[in-house]
């Protein structure tokens, strides 16, 4: 954004950008809407980076363990489930790789998804006061959320890659495709997250119910449980859009056969229009949300 005057003020002043605020819905001028969306997306790139750097550096500043927190949670989850399955309290099913690896990778991938789903709403909630006072490209918050998710994913994945050989899993060449799975988790997560943000920013019910739903979704996804062999449980797992993402990710790491590539592609293809609809909804909603949430 060229918010500052260039040395050649006179020529710049010839073409003053004009902004009109009227009660008309921005959806009534589709062409303008798309142009504005793309323009704001471009303009938000560096601001989003700044937001992400700010939040990441502030995140661990008041902690003792610092960046260790990024994978401490999945590690503890793994320990819990290894204990539960070893003691026979919970039947998790047969896994083709060692169960601790299965859970560790599963919870890490799941963490990326959950974080991406939560990001848009939590970004808006955290920046409420800034949103209500300053006019900056609203896309910056979403992009910053994506940057942060990417950063956290990168840390976790490097930990996994370092740990796997010690856990008896030899990495295959397919691992170079693994980042694609991370991107698709972030794509799907952001698309879903954007979809609930407008109403979630108005009613805090959404923010309260989201973790509960995600907890439930985890149990019907191949995160800690193996893919069921048959029955209604298998159908539920198969219909669950997250399953193919998780399984494909795990298979790429361990070099297992790629059974779910097709549904993986379908889920990603469906996520794109959802993301666009969510984005439009978010843009349209922001003035309304700001009007209702600020004094």
């Amino acid at each position: 954004m060229q918010h500052l005057s260039s040395p050649d003020i006179a020529s710049e002043r010839q073409v003053l950008p004009t902004t009109v605020y009227s009660p008309e819905s921005s959806l009534s001028h589709r062409g303008e809407l798309w142009r504005a969306m793309l323009k704001d997306l471009r303009a938000s790139a560096s601001l989003a980076w700044r937001f992400a750097v700010r939040d990441i550096s502030a995140q661990y500043r008041q902690t003792l363990l610092g960046i260790l927190w990024a994978f401490l949670t999945p590690l503890l989850t793994t320990v819990t489930w290894v204990f539960l399955s070893a003691s026979g309290v919970v039947q998790v099913g047969e896994t083709d790789i060692p169960y601790p690896v299965y859970v560790f990778v599963g919870t890490l991938l799941w963490g990326v998804l959950v974080e991406s789903i939560n990001a848009p709403l939590s970004q808006v909630t955290a920046e409420k006061s800034t949103l209500a006072k300053l006019n900056f490209p609203r896309e910056a918050l979403i992009v910053a959320g994506i940057y942060k998710a990417l950063f956290n994913a990168a840390i976790r994945v490097s930990i996994v890659l370092i740990c796997l050989p010690f856990l008896g899993v030899t990495l295959k060449l397919t691992v170079i495709l693994f980042p694609l799975v991370l991107l698709s988790l972030i794509l799907v997560g952001t698309a879903l997250g954007l979809l609930v943000t407008p109403i979630g920013a108005l009613y805090s019910d959404v923010g309260k119910i989201l973790p509960v739903l995600m907890q439930f979704a985890m149990y019907i996804s191949p995160v800690v449980f193996a893919m069921p062999e048959q029955g209604i449980a298998r159908l539920v797992f198969l219909l669950n859009p997250f399953s193919s993402l998780l399984i494909t990710g795990r298979d790429l790491l361990t070099g297992s056969s790629q059974e779910y590539v097709f549904s993986f592609l379908v889920v990603n293809a469906l996520a794109v229009p959802v993301l666009l609809i969510g984005w439009i909804g978010y843009r349209v909603a922001m003035p309304i949300v700001i009007e209702r949430m600020s004094s």
């Binding site: 819905s25 550096s57 300053l134 900056f136």
Partner: protein
Amino acid sequence: MSNEPLVKVEQVSKKFCKDLRRSLRYGAQDLVREMRGLHHGGSDALRPGEFWAVDDISFELTRGECIGIVGRNGAGKSSLLKVLNGLIKPDQGRVTMRGRVAALIELGAGFNPLLTARENIYVNGQILGFSKKDLQRRFDSIVEFSGIGQFLDSPVRTFSSGMKVRLGFAIAAQLEPDVLIVDEVLAVGDIGFRIKCLNRIQELLKETAVVFVSHSMPYVGRICTKVLVLEDGRCGLLTTDVAKGIDRYYGGFGWGERQDHFGAVVGIGAIRINGVLDFGSVTVQYGSDVALEMEILPQHERRTLCARLVVWNQEQRAVLDVIGQDGELFSWQSDGRDSVLSVQLRGLTLTAGKHSVSVIVSDCATKEVLCRVDNACGFLMGQHLSSAAGLFFPGEWAVGPLAIGEDRTEESACAVVSA
């Protein structure tokens, strides 16, 4: 070209809802309507529980103009600003902004308390629309303007609110926008910094159209070229006569109550101004007289009493301290009986607006205040000339021929004229 308006506000209205639950429901309804491509805010009618927070406001602003938007709390100033800044949509009307718009609304919004001032300069600067390169270039001048150089690497949460405002304004002051929106940001900060800010705004005003919201009328009087007085969301007055606008703003407040303090030894009864008891009903024209009569009700035997009046203008500045002809407090011997104290103020040259009078009676010997009545009576000075001062002083002016001779040079011409 420069005469084209940069800000054009046409019949803008904005509804608000007092009830939170309803407000959220209307928000959800608006959201659905908006997604269906319909007009914002429903039909033009108010829904139950709603009111017009901004009602049919229009004005224009060109480069070099500064509009002061004034009004009591809740008059709709902030809502109007939010519409102007594009944060919320108008329910009716239209706002056209040309050029880059910068807003100084609550400085330091977006500061992260854990990060250092240095880091926050970059974050805040980019929120305000600087590019990274611009910020690097202007970093030193930001730090210099803020005057918090030695705390550059301390986390912002250790800053006082005044320091945060300093930092916030220093960043924003580097912007060179076409339209500047300023919302009551000068309220915090010490007087030195406030003057610095005001000077910076005035400097920007040469190339900018400024929307200035403040409760501080001296600032409005100092920098604004027109005033919009908001009264319950409606336009009470839109005028280029800034003094008149300010009077209108003050006129919106009542006279207040008479307040008596420490009246145990001496009480003050009825007070008449120009023979009238009725509070605030007297209008005094420039240069005319005012007569005050006060009933003095002593509760003691004999004492020497002193009296003085203090006249306050509408900014709550004391503009006159009325004493006796001899340059001392007026004093008299009280024999303990009720009496009437009267004073004539001849040829008053106060500036326009509401004035209220305090009466102070003290013991001449001990200087102890025996009775003080604030808001004892009030009068309205008529409109005469606009002034930011409290009092006109009719000077003795003259124009004569220039003195010839001496060692006058070209450079000292100015000094000679003023001498």
